[in-house]
């Protein structure tokens, strides 16, 4: 999918109530309330096949780049929030301009399996906003127990759209 470069000033203005809600969301381990009329997920609750994912995370590391057949560069990076880490693949300018340590708000992303690891994508309708840097709590266990991308997934036998972690 081709990606349109971000227009300037695309960071959405938020009211101060929403700012406070986001501050609580960033530190919480479960979150059910909508903020800005959207549902926000923590990384731990994301499974492959989820569509329209809204989440806040920080970029830990930019690992590699690959190129797709259409000529888009894909940047593979490791992202995290306070519940989990996972892989993300962002295209073109999104991936190029984000550096490690950037805090990102993703709206309209989706998750699928890429080479056996669940990966978060921004997609055609997804929007990435860099909202800050550095001041973000994240989990970073050395034994990788919090890394969602290391989990093995199997398809749910009852519902081919859903995936379940292999136990």
């Amino acid at each position: 999918a081709k990606h349109i470069p971000l227009p300037a000033n695309s960071v959405q203005g938020i009211s101060s109530n929403d700012k406070m809600s986001f501050q609580r969301y960033i530190n919480a381990f479960n979150w059910k309330d909508p903020i800005m009329e959207k549902q926000w997920k923590k990384l731990k609750t994301i499974s492959p096949g989820d569509k329209i994912i809204n989440t806040l995370f920080i970029v830990l590391d930019k690992v590699t780049t690959t190129t797709t057949k259409e000529g888009n560069t894909v940047y593979h990076m490791l992202i995290a929030d306070n519940t989990a880490k996972m892989n993300a693949s962002l295209f073109d300018c999104y991936g190029e301009l984000l550096q490690s340590g950037d805090i990102v708000r993703l709206t309209g992303g989706y998750c699928s399996i890429y080479k056996g690891a669940s990966t978060l994508y921004a997609g055609k309708h997804g929007k990435i906003e860099r909202i800050g840097e550095y001041n973000f709590p994240f989990t970073d266990k050395t034994d990788q127990t919090d890394n969602m991308s290391k989990v093995q997934w199997v398809q749910d036998p009852t519902n081919s759209e859903k995936w379940l972690p292999k136990h």
């Binding site: 830990l60 550096q99 490690s100 340590g101 550095y134 001041n135 709590p137 970073d140």
Partner: protein, 563 residues
């Protein structure tokens, strides 16, 4: 007003017109404009430009132009805007953009010198900033700027000595760092030989003045400060690796792959003196100050940089006075020494060597200062034990990795503080190091006004007896009956009647080379040190700045392995 401000900042062609409209429309003496500019400067100045930009953006250039116009009109409140802009100059960074900001501010202060001389709150900050920056501008291309900085600082000191004196001890530390620069030599010499010109009888007066925390904080940009404080307040111990890496990549890395070592010293001073966490934070699992300083210490790549950091870390120790200085400035160093003991012994040994060498070597040949420094270090160490920062210095003096000569020196310096250490310093050791072995041991905690000091050991008559108290309490009495400063073991009484023989420097065999590097000037105010006169050998440090053979303190044979 907001719209006019926006127009001035963003639209270069019409900025003059907008400025004219603003002068016609303004009714509150530009107070609102100054407030907005202050917010912009403190929070948004780097973001007015692209990340990784090399040149100043239009907005930044226009901002500086507008500030110049406001200074021209002598608007009230523009000094705070200038202070904010000075904060945004990154120390240790000689990129084009940073130098441009520094140069513009410098030019503005030079052009509007009468205005600057009337701003007594801004003068200490300007002096401090440009003394600090002059140390970074070693590139020959920046020569002219450095000369201008030197002239400005010298003028400020001569015209407004009262204001610049409030800068205090860190001002002296900075001047020491640049004292070898040709243009600062005159000022430095005057300060040492003729302090009366600046309204003080002795350089020591300025050294006892604590630098105001706003000045120390001003050398960190607001972003840098926020990131450093985030590590020390929100990140649990053990998780700080990534944050440290990002901080390093953003602020400490130079394009050639080296480290901005002068910035490390600023960060250490900030952590020790400006950020004093409350007890809850100290007791929690968050990264502690000593851990952050340990990381900064390990970042230094050259011995000179490491020496600068260590001096910054122990600087308050040299002049510590119990009632006047706070133990919070001293605590990170103590904890770093003691907590590194099982796992990072090299840090402990390194720091202990440094502090003991600094006690003797920092002030060159001036024995009065040397005694005062030793006393300061003793008092700092005593305060730590008193306020239960650590239980006793015996943890350090008993560790096996501390070599015998160093251990002897440590025991001599911290006599009475190494509870639990069975060996006490022998008479021969004390005399060899220049301590008075005959005076009775007196704790220097008599003047601690702070809450809950533990019961102090009563003085014992025998100087080499074991340091166990007889269980008495009550404040010890100085044996000479002097009031203050309280007499402390082994040093001459107040006024410098020297008991030590010769005041010769100590040989620290087995010293790691890095410990011997104390960038320090030579001369003092007393008419000694003939080397101080002509041919100032450029802040003769012990292997620090220039070649080790110019060191005036350690006899050349003893300069064990300086770089």
């Amino acid at each position: 007003m907001n719209a006019l401000l926006f127009g001035i900042l963003c639209d270069r062609q019409r900025a003059q017109t907008f400025w004219r409209y603003m002068t016609l429309v303004v009714r509150d003496g530009y107070a609102y404009v100054c407030k907005q500019l202050q917010r912009l400067v403190l929070e948004k100045f780097p973001r007015l430009n692209d990340r990784g930009a090399i040149q100043a953006s239009i907005q930044q250039a226009q901002l500086l132009w507008l500030v110049r116009e406001l200074v021209n009109l002598n608007v009230q409140g523009v000094d705070k805007v200038c202070a904010g802009l000075l904060r945004q100059i990154v120390g240790g960074n000689t990129s084009t953009l940073n130098c441009w900001v520094a140069r513009s501010m410098l030019q503005m202060f030079i052009d509007f010198r009468p205005w600057l001389l009337s701003q007594s709150s801004l003068i200490p900050l300007v002096f401090y900033t440009f003394c600090r920056l002059a140390g970074d501008h070693t590139d020959p291309k920046l020569d002219k700027m450095r000369r201008q900085e030197a002239t400005l600082c010298a003028e400020l000191f001569r015209e407004r000595p009262a204001d610049v004196r409030t800068v205090g001890r860190d001002g002296i530390r900075l001047l020491q760092d640049v004292s070898n620069v040709h243009d600062f030599v005159g000022l430095w010499q005057d300060l040492l030989n003729n302090p009366g010109q600046f309204g003080m009888t002795d350089l020591w007066e300025m050294l006892t003045v604590k630098t105001p925390p706003e000045l120390l904080r001003s050398r960190l940009t607001p972003d840098m400060e926020a990131q450093l404080l985030y590590i020390m307040s929100h990140v649990k111990m053990g998780n700080q690796g990534r944050y440290q890496k990002w901080f390093y990549n953003k602020w400490l890395m130079t394009p050639e792959g080296g480290v901005c070592e002068s910035l490390l010293a600023d960060l250490v001073r900030f952590t020790c003196c400006v950020y004093h966490p409350p007890n809850e934070v100290i007791r929690s699992e968050v990264v502690q100050r000593w851990a952050a300083i340990g990381w900064l210490l390990k970042c230094a790549k050259t011995p000179m940089g490491a020496a600068g950091i260590k001096l910054a870390l122990f600087y308050d120790w040299l002049f510590f006075t119990p009632g006047h200085d706070s133990v919070m400035n001293v605590e990170p160093a103590v904890l770093l020494i003691v907590r590194s003991i099982p796992k990072w012994m090299d840090i402990t040994v390194d720091l202990v060597e440094f502090v003991l060498a600094a006690a003797d070597g920092w002030c060159g040949d001036n024995t009065i200062y040397r005694d005062r420094c030793r006393r300061g270090i003793y008092q700092a160490a005593a305060e730590c034990v008193n306020l239960r920062v650590i239980n006793s210095w015996s943890a350090v003096s008993m560790c096996p990795q501390v070599g015998p000569p160093l251990r002897a020196r440590l025991r001599a310096q911290f006599r009475g503080l190494c509870k639990g250490d069975p060996d006490s310093p022998t008479k021969e050791d004390l005399e060899a190091f220049g301590f008075d072995a005959t005076s009775p041991r007196v704790s220097s905690t008599a003047s601690t006004p702070l809450a809950s000091p533990r019961p102090v050991d009563p003085p014992s008559e025998d100087a080499s007896s074991s340091p166990q108290p007889a269980g008495g309490s009550g404040p010890p009495v100085s044996p000479r009956g002097t009031d203050s400063p309280a007499s402390f073991p082994g040093f001459g009484g107040a006024g410098g009647d020297e008991d030590d023989g010769g005041g010769d420097a100590i040989l620290l065999s087995g010293a790691a080379g890095a410990a011997a590097n104390i960038p320090m000037s030579d001369a003092s105010s007393s008419p000694l040190a003939p080397g101080a006169g002509g041919g100032l050998p450029s802040a003769a440090s012990l292997g620090g700045r220039k070649s080790p053979s110019t060191s005036l303190v350690f006899p050349p044979a003893a300069a064990a392995g300086p770089p």
